[in-house]
Symmetry: C2
Subunit: 281 residues, 2 copies
């Protein structure tokens, strides 16, 4: 009765039956894009933003999207109705398809699948520690499946007792493997990197939520600016905002979550509530 | 009767039945390594080198190899016997496994599968044109499945009527997406990049075959050195040696395959013949 139901190439089927021929260059060559959203009371929160980004990722890898945006909405609607839980993750995956020469893009396989998630925080989560690492994702504006470095660095993250790893390059810090970073600098300006980042949907919401609260800048942020920030936080689809008080064992600000993180968390939660109330299929 | 037979996690099965649950982080996160060899008269040519590189790739991504080297040899032996053709490709694929959180490495899935290939050239193939592109693979010493850029650049390769694309960075040229590069410089020295390259098995054989023929150096090669080379060629498991006479529309050397390419092709073919004659399971 409480089976998770997925959708693959036009067919609804139990999640555990979703299999893919291994000749798909998604698997043989890592050639695939995806996206991930979350439902709240069976409403896909900020659906339009996720659909648009998914479409942009597909276009960047020159993959043909098999469904129109309206058809995607219809599948999402039915999938959401079919799930046993009103709060779920939904993953979109579009692969390069079955390829005879294992190299040429073919007809993509599209899979939309439910993902059980923990309850989303209703108050600002506890502060965490992060570490930094010199790396920049390839095609960072594309949500490709390429997470080799993030997964490889998990041992370092665990060894440091950290929550996640923040990438940086000569241009400054950029992003976490699966989320974005914000700082509040000593002048009270909210800043987030503009380049070499995936433009997160929560990131966008936070920028909007900060209007009338404090100045916002999208700009390069050096490691030194990071270390000397008054506040740092992570933005993520599943956690909204997570305060950071330790970076590479340096204490940030007062060593506890700051007022901006609390205020933006509440504003973000309110924006989500508004979206859920007003959402129509 | 002439079905291709693969091996997956201990089971021999028809190739078209090899499917993988989509929860494998090989597909969801591009977290997998592979390798590819070729058989000649049912002998897996230079088997030890491919097995060693596959093991090293797995270790670099912290994936546990489910089989010992001897067990791998046993599977390869049986697979080679089962194929309808005596000349085949064999692909090894090791994935990060089914992962509940779609992020943590689990028990890997190991697949060894036959790949139909065209007959291998017995004389030096015709010369080709290549283009160059500024890019460096992540973890270049690892044969990961990450070919996003190589596949994405196929349109540029086709538009330029070229055979392949050679990556370069500030350190100079490095490699093609699936093969290595050599030049013979104006002083008659055979050179191949040392850094940011996958150490090809054919590359290694060419270096060995060149002994007593001309001096060999593994070193950085600038784009200018490439353009002014007397000879350029590609080394590859399936084509052995492919001469290059056009790079970004610049004519290389005399505009036709050079003597070193011919000589090394013959030496490489002889080394393969020796290997096949002496091979024992």
């Amino acid at each position: 009765m409480d089976k998770l139901i997925a959708w693959m190439n036009g067919v609804y089927l139990p999640l555990e039956e979703v299999k893919i021929g291994y000749q798909d260059i998604g698997l043989l060559r890592g050639y695939a894009v995806f996206d991930f959203l979350r439902t709240n009371q069976r409403v896909p929160v900020f659906l339009e933003d996720y659909l648009q980004r998914f479409q942009e990722s597909a276009a960047a890898l020159r993959l043909d999207m098999p469904l129109s945006e309206q058809a995607m909405r219809n599948v999402v609607r039915k999938l959401v109705e079919l799930q046993p839980q009103a709060e779920m993750g939904l993953r979109f995956l579009l692969t390069g398809g079955y390829s005879e020469d294992a190299y040429t893009v073919q007809e993509p396989n599209l899979i939309i699948s439910p993902v059980p998630i923990k309850p989303v925080p209703t108050v600002l989560p506890d502060a965490v520690k992060i570490i930094t690492y010199p790396y920049e994702r390839q095609l960072p504006q594309v949500k490709s499946i390429h997470y080799t470095m993030g997964i490889l660095l998990q041992q370092e993250v665990k060894a440091a007792n950290a929550f996640d790893v923040l990438y940086y390059s000569e241009q400054g810090v950029s992003e976490f493997p699966r989320s974005n970073v914000f700082i509040v600098n000593q002048q009270g300006v909210l800043q987030t990197p503009a380049n070499a980042v995936l433009k997160g949907v929560t990131r966008k919401q936070v920028i909007q939520a900060a209007a009338n609260l404090l100045p916002v800048e999208e700009k390069n942020i050096s490691l030194d600016e990071l270390y000397s920030a008054a506040e740092i936080f992570i933005t993520s689809t599943t956690k909204k905002i997570i305060p950071v008080t330790l970076v590479d064992d340096r204490v940030i600000g007062a060593g506890k979550p700051g007022p901006v993180a609390f205020q933006l968390f509440d504003r973000l939660s309110a924006a989500e509530e508004d979206y859920v109330q007003q959402f129509q299929w």
